[in-house]
């Protein structure tokens, strides 16, 4: 494990990922450089097929790069064994997916405690309750996922992701399957994690409203970063940039 401490929670350098589909090679990422500093909220946007999901998977160590480098909390992912990668994910990375975030057999509290249980660390019930309280679900601790609404499930997932105090929290379309009100709650929780707990969040989304909660927005297109916006931006501005990018890309398509 090589440590390169430089203040970034996560760094991607010249990240390239190609897949072979049949005999064709498909390039999902073509040399992306992206960093997220500690206590930064980065949103990754882009049309479907732009490579944003691949970016997230590679950044989180769920998928491997073809070339380039990923460093999470100072640890290079390249060359880590499956086991060490798993331990790294468990200890320094949190996940929130679009759907199916919780194990159906476990209660909300057990789901929150799961990463610690898997790490064979002691779980203090009061800490679990506190974590659930933070997402406003202290009273649902004993409920199973099937008894919770979609928004509630997502809040449990956030509580679980934050419970291990990860260096970075990856969220993949966390509001994609939720109604507007629930989505707002989830985004507020992510924002609060950055503001109050100084966590780093990298979120993939196609929703300008969601991206407006981030400190910085980057746009991907055809596996490259095609635009970026630093500092808090409004939903309208993000939406306009997105629309402009899609226009050029479709023009590009047409010209080809």
């Amino acid at each position: 494990m090589t440590m390169t401490k430089n203040g970034f929670a996560v760094e991607l350098r010249a990240a390239t990922r190609t897949y072979s589909v049949g005999r064709r090679a498909v390039t999902a990422l073509a040399g992306v450089d992206l960093t997220a500093a500690a206590a930064e909220f980065v949103a990754v946007m882009g049309p479907s097929g732009s490579g944003k999901s691949t970016l997230l998977h590679c950044a989180a160590g769920l998928d491997r790069l073809t070339s380039g480098e990923v460093v999470i909390d100072g640890v290079r992912l390249a060359g880590l064994s499956q086991r060490r990668l798993t331990v790294l994910r468990r200890d320094r990375v949190g996940f929130v997916f679009q759907a199916f975030n919780l194990l159906p057999a476990l209660t909300a509290a057990q789901n929150v405690a799961l990463p610690r249980l898997l790490a064979r660390r002691r779980v203090v019930p009061a800490e679990v309750t506190a974590a659930l309280d933070e997402v406003g679900l202290a009273d649902r601790a004993g409920h199973r996922p099937a008894e919770l609404s979609g928004g509630e499930q997502q809040r449990v997932a956030i509580a679980r992701a934050l419970f291990t105090r990860p260096a970075v929290l990856f969220a993949d379309e966390p509001t994609g399957a939720l109604d507007a009100a629930s989505g707002r709650e989830v985004l507020a929780l992510l924002r609060a994690a950055v503001n109050r707990r100084a966590r780093t969040v990298v979120m993939v989304t196609h929703d300008p409203f969601a991206a407006a909660h981030a400190d910085r927005v980057v746009w991907l297109g055809d596996g490259r970063i095609v635009d970026a916006l630093s500092g808090p931006a409004g939903t309208r501005e993000i939406a306009m940039r997105t629309a402009a990018l899609e226009e050029t890309s479709s023009l590009g398509e047409a010209r080809r």
Partner: protein
């Protein structure tokens, strides 16, 4: 572990199949184990008062692994017994000669023919069972007898003694059949034990030597046994305590042995099938839970943790199933004792006792089997990448793994090659090789089912290809080849086994009768009628040939071995050997055969001839056999003239005579067959139902989509049922074809062995029954989960 427990509780339906399979397997093993462990050799009741006994020496083992004994000659037995009376603690030492007596009622031998071989005793031996006179006086002269009590107590049912309602009273005479022939005896008294008791010298004259000396002892039997052992030395084996089981008659031990074979077959089959069902269930469950596993991996579970969790889940289920299965089997075992005795698989008086060791073994076996079934699925699960959690659709993974392809193709090739090579296999091993080939082909068909199912389904649904339901069913079945194969495989195995096993038995049985009758040169035979064999008087003066079977011990080199010999009429007092026997014993014409007769007498008999024409391996003069084996009975006389009527004998065709044996054998074979097929079918039903229930429950979303797309509730249900039936039909067809191919191969092998045409008997009835049972199970299982869901639909979101 906690996760495992909670998952099991949460996904009860998914584990139901594993639970039932293991519980059924454990119940079977614990029940069969209780029965087997309860079936210990036991000294007959008539030795109840004799806590120490001496058996004549064993000279080795016979071809079935049972001890081969040499009898004491009468003088030898008398000498040893009188020597033992001087041992402190020995109150009495009684030589126990045994011979054949059967009462004649209404001109025919009455009672259990087999048991009557051991019904004649000497009067002093009655004391060994603690039997006493209930009326009259002991027998003194030859021709006098004490009749056993017909209503004798104890578990052993009474035979030999007068039948109830036909009581004998002291002073009366009674007609009995003995090895010599019918005799009239005077009843001097009655006793409270079973059997017939004649004076000691008469009994010794009638029996073939003596094998047991029973002792009545005072004080500690073990201590007395020690001193007895010093006196007896190598002249016999001293038996006390549990060793007395060795006193059990061979015939009774053979019955136990038969029962044990059935129990062993049941246990091995159910262990094998339980592993199969558990493995299939775990595999299917793991496939259905790929997303969940991926999520676990994403939040930080190592592959080892995933593996351990999966194994722990099955362990929890196995442990709970064992707790259900063990008592179920233990409670069912005593209920089976009666039927087993009636079927001739356990001796009369068999009772089941508590067998904690068997229970514990069954429990442990259940857990081990569960683990064995779970290991492969757990290993595959642990390789699920964390990304799997993000896949929206649980698209069907490749149905065929490389290992499955390899095993399936190897099995198919191996089976085909073996079938093709069958004509070159040595004759004696052809049927075995044929069966082996059949097993390989059946296994290969089950493994390759996912590949074979697609084309088969297309063929079967060809006539109805235009209806919407047919389209859905057909495409669903073909794309989800693995699921379909999981349903089809148990049906395939059950149908194939049924066709193969019953077909083989029926085919072989069909030719066996004519085959064996062909060995008998005479058209008519004189056979026993109600008796275990023909008495000397019945054979004497009959026109025709017969042989008097006896067992002798033959010494060659430094070894002694038991040999079945035949007493035949001959001009001189020498032995005639077949070349094979002569070669084995290292004897040539002019040598002496060193042998011990059944009565323990040592003798040297010169070899008069070595010829292929000898009717048995070792032929000895009939008069000598009769002299040294007074209890020998003739099994059959091959007639070449009109028979003389005799008690306990009847004339019949050679074919009918052979058929008696075949029927007796066939009855047992069929019993074994049906028990094993019943088990196979039962597990197949379990597997089919389980697969259907699990996969239907896992396809809710798919059916919801179907409903939204405009399918009526009935139509959705129809699709599910049709899919299930299609899978069973496909499995049945595959199984029947594979088994029929293998059966034809076996038939050809048998035909070559017998050198004549053998008609193929295909058991369509049994096969259809098994297929029907599978179909019903599949239909019920595919409908039930949805019915349950309809009730709970309101409580969901």
């Amino acid at each position: 572990m906690r996760l495992a427990w909670q998952t099991v509780r949460h996904r009860r339906a998914a584990f139901a199949g594993t639970f039932v399979a293991i519980a059924a397997g454990v119940a079977l093993v614990s029940g069969a184990g209780s029965l087997a462990a309860s079936s210990r050799p036991q000294a007959p009741d008539r030795y109840d008062a004799s806590t120490v006994a001496v058996h004549s020496p064993s000279v080795g083992q016979d071809e079935y692994g049972n001890p081969e004994y040499r009898s004491w000659t009468t003088p030898e037995a008398v000498r040893i017994a009188s020597g033992l009376r001087a041992v402190p603690g020995v109150r009495a030492a009684v030589a126990d000669p045994v011979f054949y007596v059967q009462r004649i009622a209404a001109g025919r031998p009455a009672g259990d023919a087999e048991a009557s071989l051991r019904d004649g005793h000497s009067w002093p031996a009655a004391a060994l069972g603690g039997y006493r006179l209930t009326a009259g006086r002991p027998p003194v002269r030859r021709g006098e007898v004490v009749a056993g009590d017909p209503a004798c107590q104890g578990a052993e049912p009474c035979h030999g003694g007068a039948s109830p309602g036909d009581l004998v009273v002291p002073g009366e005479t009674v007609r009995v059949l003995t090895a010599d022939g019918p005799q009239t005896w005077t009843v001097t008294g009655t006793a409270d034990g079973p059997g017939w008791y004649v004076p000691a010298d008469d009994a010794l004259r009638r029996s073939s030597g003596v094998r047991v000396i029973g002792l009545l002892v005072d004080g500690d039997p073990a201590a007395v046994a020690q001193s007895v052992r010093r006196v007896v030395g190598d002249r016999g084996t001293v038996l006390a305590g549990s060793d007395r089981g060795a006193l059990e008659p061979d015939a009774v031990s053979r019955v136990r042995w038969l029962g044990a074979q059935l129990l062993i077959a049941m246990v091995s089959l159910s262990v094998f099938v339980t592993v199969f069902v558990v493995a299939a269930t775990c595999g299917l469950g793991a496939a259905q839970r790929r997303r969940e596993t991926g999520l676990l991996r994403a939040v930080g579970a190592t592959p080892g943790q995933v593996r351990r969790t999966m194994v722990a889940e099955t362990l929890v289920v196995g442990a709970a199933a064992g707790l259900t299965g063990v008592p179920a089997g233990a409670l069912a075992a005593p209920l089976l004792a009666g039927p087993l005795v009636r079927a001739g698989l356990e001796p009369a008086g068999f009772t089941v006792t508590a067998q904690p060791v068997a229970w514990a073994a069954a429990y442990i076996l259940g857990v081990v089997v569960a683990l064995a079934g779970a290991v492969v699925a757990a290993w595959r699960s642990s390789r699920v990448p964390p990304l799997e959690a993000l896949r929206e659709t649980a698209a069907e993974r490749r149905a065929m793994t490389p290992a499955r392809w390899l095993a399936g193709v190897l099995g198919a090739v191996g089976g085909t090659v073996l079938l093709a090579l069958l004509p070159r296999v040595p004759l004696t091993q052809r049927t075995t090789a044929g069966t082996g080939a059949a097993m390989l082909l059946i296994g290969a068909a089950a493994l390759l089912a996912p590949v074979l199912i697609g084309p088969l389904v297309r063929a079967v649904t060809w006539p109805v290809r235009r209806s919407a339901t047919a389209l859905l069913v057909r495409e669903g079945t073909r794309t989800a080849a693995r699921r379909t194969a999981a349903t089809a495989a148990p049906a395939l195995l059950a149908v194939a086994f049924t066709v193969l096993l019953t077909g083989m038995v029926a085919t072989i049985e069909g030719v066996e009768g004519t085959d064996r009758a062909a060995d008998i040169p005479a058209a008519l035979v004189l056979a026993p009628d109600g008796a275990p064999g023909l008495a000397a008087a019945a054979v004497r003066g009959q026109p025709g040939r017969s042989a008097l079977p006896t067992r002798v011990l033959v010494g060659h080199g430094g070894a002694t071995e038991g040999l079945d010999a035949a007493g035949v009429d001959g001009p001189d007092r020498g032995a005639v050997l077949t070349p094979a026997t002569a070669a084995r014993l290292g004897l040539r014409r002019g040598d002496d055969v060193r042998l011990w007769w059944a009565d323990g007498t040592a003798a040297r008999v010169p070899v008069r001839a070595v010829t292929r024409d000898a009717p048995a391996g070792l032929c000895l003069p009939r008069a000598l056999v009769r002299e040294h084996d007074p209890v020998a009975l003739t099994p059959v006389v091959l007639l070449d003239g009109a028979p003389v009527p005799a008690t306990g004998a009847r004339t019949m065709s050679a074919r009918a005579y052979v058929q008696i044996d075949i029927d007796a054998e066939g009855r047992l074979v069929r019993l074994f067959l049906w028990v094993l097929l019943g088990l196979t079918a039962g597990y197949a039903v379990l597997a089919v139902a389980n697969t259907m229930a699990m996969s239907t429950a896992g396809r809710r979303a798919e059916f919801r989509t179907l409903r939204l797309a405009g399918a009526a509730a009935g139509q959705a249900k129809l699709v599910a049922v049709a899919e299930a039936l299609l899978a069973v039909v496909a499995g049945t067809l595959l199984g029947a074809v594979v088994a029929a191919v293998a059966l034809t191969g076996v038939r050809d092998a048998v035909a070559a062995e017998l050198q004549r045409a053998v008609p193929l008997v295909v058991p369509w009835g049994a096969a259809s029954l098994v297929a029907l049972v599978c179909a019903v199970a599949a239909t019920l299982a595919s409908v039930t989960p949805r019915l349950v869901r309809a009730e709970t639909a309101g409580s969901g979101r």
